[in-house]
Subunit: 504 residues, 2 copies
């Protein structure tokens, strides 16, 4: 007879094995994006899919279900905030999700993804939605099947959202997004109409690549990102890879005539990196040692990139250093002009190039399409028209073609429905955390002005990092800030900052 | 009932799985030596040892033994040169070796190695053999146990040699080494005594690091090393890592005031890399898709580094390019002086810095100690005295301390007895291959003089690379060259080349 305590210990061992295999997988992914020679791609795909299969089989083993049932049956979960209870709750969730979807369906999605990514690439190149349409339709049908397997009470979209945001529902997303949009659209309109506009040519001067690397690394290190437990490499599509304790790597890409791309990209990835580097090391392999959710992860990248890195106090400290680093580009520029230029707001077509104010509106356009698509209320053929109409309503721009519209993101080509909301929610939550940190640390602006970030890092460690997945997203936010998730802190922040910049 | 054909198919599947896991392990090792942040070392050790355990358990599974017995019992092995027969023969060898040594003994060796490496590092630093002595004694005792488990007919050293050189015996090594030494020692003495000596300061001028990288990469690419299936990185201890089909990476280290280190290091690793890149891709995961032995691998690195890269025809082509690349260092140097300088011969204490002529003598000193140690005819305490006496006899130098003597190599600290001979045998075999290639390609020197290496590469592909482990080392050599392994081609080569250079 296995006792509950023994079952829990066995689960701990298994989870650590799986964590090790995942960390190995992460090394393979990082290497693929950074240094792998091109002809190694076939072997790499085989290595990664072999490990993925190994991990999946270990996890869906009926023994895991037995162990969970034994461990749950006892008093181990009496204190729901204990490591044991939180781990069992999250393992149960992961196990149920993994076992509810039959392997044939998972394989079918991965088969369709290969073809869909090829046709998506071609469709985007030719700005022709028709080329991508059949595979997108297949993906939607498969996503609906996944939702049916997993189950939901209101909308099949909830079952997909739950993959990235455990427990979140479309209704709650819609409530937050609608409230935000109603205030954001007029703010964007006011900014666009303002006679006061930044001199954006400043950030398009010449910034030598080798100096960008040094300046960016120094900025990440100043935040507290530990380069003895990380590194910064150059890639096409930047990311942060948390391999495991002591090994969290960030990446960026450099453009010589655009300051923002690499610099704010580095701060963004360093934000993700700080979260990963400050998870509780001793709980490696357990849910309480893992990041809470996609949106909380994104809140950390946005917080460091925008709320800190694009703030006036930040540049009061760093602008003189930027001038020393780039005397030719910035020698004749004032702090005010530079600060305004890095915060320029301007509606544009491509999400990943969007500024701090318009970004969430790009996400809302996608949410307005994804939800009815999955619920069966929107036909695939109608996507371009609905996209263009919604985009114009939110951002005031007429989409000239689908490459600049509904074909711009890779996500749908691998069946990633329900992923987009996390990006906007991250910004919302970042505002809420930053407001709460200001309340708890009244001299936070002054600390940032002196280039000291240890106070903020410590606040985030205490309220977010150390908890791992102990609390679900909404719960974590309420505990950290005293308020449930809300759009108000973000609107307060945007109004104050951009009201001043654009003299609204 | 499993048929022999089914058993063979099942073994193929299992071997491919193991090959995939090994290739993953190789990525981890490469990353550890190149880009892993220092704080990632603990996790990396855990990842690697987890994978090593996984691989080992898969391989020693009794099912493998059953499958081998079933497959061997049938006519599958009738044609001993067929893929099937060669694979079964080599799998049997690997399986027997792996299962004969009990896991406790393997663990004990790895436990002792951790301590032994620490004491070896300290002992070398302090040039004090006594510090390393107890752990070396433990390692020798454990190595003797390993030999007893594996079995041997003449000497326990044979069982250890067999790990790196399947089927080779100490008697055969001794015969080759003795014949070589008897001719090599007088040659070295004649070279040292020659009034004609190279101007070695030429290769110690200033060679800018960035140019060394470009020049070295171009040289490797000219050999046919495929950079789309490989790359060149900087490390402390250079190596070549054959990850798998399409992914074979080489490394080097640069010294600004020493031309030879990086350049010939790159040619050496490119030689290993060419072997790995030209193994039969379709046989990945099978013995017939793997390198034949350590000595054959080393013959390829030595062949490209020395027999090609240090030859006169080679520099007739590349020296003008070297002058263009390093005008300040080489502008006033003649081809003859440069060619002589990169081929300088001078007895010295450290093996890894030894030249082409004296290198094998360094190995023989180690062999003269390893064999009686393992056979129990030499006491650990006597190692320094025997080392120093043998070294002076072979190389004419008095060893001033053990750091420059018996403590210089890491190998014994991880119990790597029987490994050293492969280094010298590689040079012997390289000479034999190069002589045979010259016979088959009468204009080979002229091809090299024009910077064309495709003919030589093709010869090596035909006679060595494509066979994998189909033939054992001695057999492969005899098939490729028409002669059994012999020291004569090497001596003919050395006499001709250095006789001319040193006007003997």
């Amino acid at each position: 007879m296995t006792t509950p305590q023994q079952a829990y210990q066995e689960l701990l061992g298994l989870a650590r094995e799986i964590a090790l295999l995942r960390s190995v997988s992460s090394v393979l992914s990082w290497d693929r994006e950074t240094y792998m020679p091109p002809r190694g791609a076939t072997l790499r795909a085989e290595q990664s899919s072999y490990l993925a299969g190994l991990i999946h089989r270990k996890w869906i083993d009926p023994r895991v279900g037995e162990l969970l049932s034994i461990a749950e049956a006892d008093g181990l979960t009496d204190d729901p905030e204990s490591d044991v209870a939180a781990n069992l709750r999250e393992w149960r969730r992961d196990y149920d999700r993994a076992t509810k979807v039959p392997p044939e369906l998972v394989e079918e999605i991965s088969r369709v993804s290969v073809l869909a990514q090829t046709t998506w690439t071609e469709a985007r190149q030719k700005a022709d939605f028709g080329i991508f349409r059949p595979h997108l339709a297949q993906h939607i049908e498969l996503a609906r099947q996944v939702a049916a397997c997993i189950g939901y009470s209101e909308s099949p979209y909830d079952a997909l959202l739950d993959e990235y945001e455990p427990g979140l529902t479309a209704t709650r997303v819609r409530r937050l997004f609608t409230a935000l949009r109603d205030e954001l659209v007029p703010l964007v309109q006011a900014i666009v109409a303002s006679p006061r506009q930044p001199r954006t040519e400043i950030i398009h001067r010449h910034f030598p690549l080798d100096r960008q690397k040094i300046f960016g690394e120094a900025a990440a290190a100043a935040f507290g990102y530990d380069f003895r437990a990380g590194r910064l490499d150059t890639v096409t599509h930047p990311f942060c890879m948390g391999i495991g304790p002591g090994d969290v790597r960030i990446t960026t890409r450099y453009t010589a005539d655009y300051f923002n791309e690499a610099f704010f990209g580095i701060l963004h990835e360093a934000g993700h990196g700080l979260y990963e580097q400050n998870l509780p090391t001793e709980a490696f392999g357990q849910p309480v040692g893992e990041a809470c959710s996609m949106s909380i992860h994104e809140s950390q990248s946005r917080l460091w990139e925008n709320f800190v890195g694009r703030s006036r106090p930040y540049w009061e400290h760093f602008f003189p250093r930027a001038q020393q680093t780039y005397p030719a580009a910035l020698g004749d520029v004032s702090l005010d002009d530079f600060y305004f230029a890095v915060n320029a707001v301007s509606p544009s077509f491509i999400r990943i190039e969007a500024d701090e104010v318009t970004y969430a509106l790009h996400i809302m356009v996608r949410f307005e399409i994804e939800q009815p698509l999955i619920e069966g209320h929107l036909a695939v053929d109608d996507i371009p028209a609905v996209w263009n109409e919604t985009f114009e309503r939110y951002l005031g721009l007429k989409v000239p073609n689908d490459a600049l519209g509904c074909l711009q993101d890779i996500h749908w080509s691998f069946g990633g429905f329900g992923y987009f909301p996390s990006y906007a929610l991250g910004t919302l939550y970042a505002a809420q955390f930053f407001e709460a940190a200001h309340r708890d640390l009244p001299d936070l602006d002054e600390q940032i002005r002196r280039g000291h970030f240890a106070g903020l890092l410590d606040w985030l460690r205490t309220h977010i990092y150390r908890h791992g997945r102990r609390y679900r997203t909404a719960d974590l936010i309420e505990r950290a800030t005293g308020q449930p998730p809300s759009h108000e802190p973000l609107m307060r922040y945007l109004r104050a900052k951009f009201g001043e910049l654009y003299a609204l």
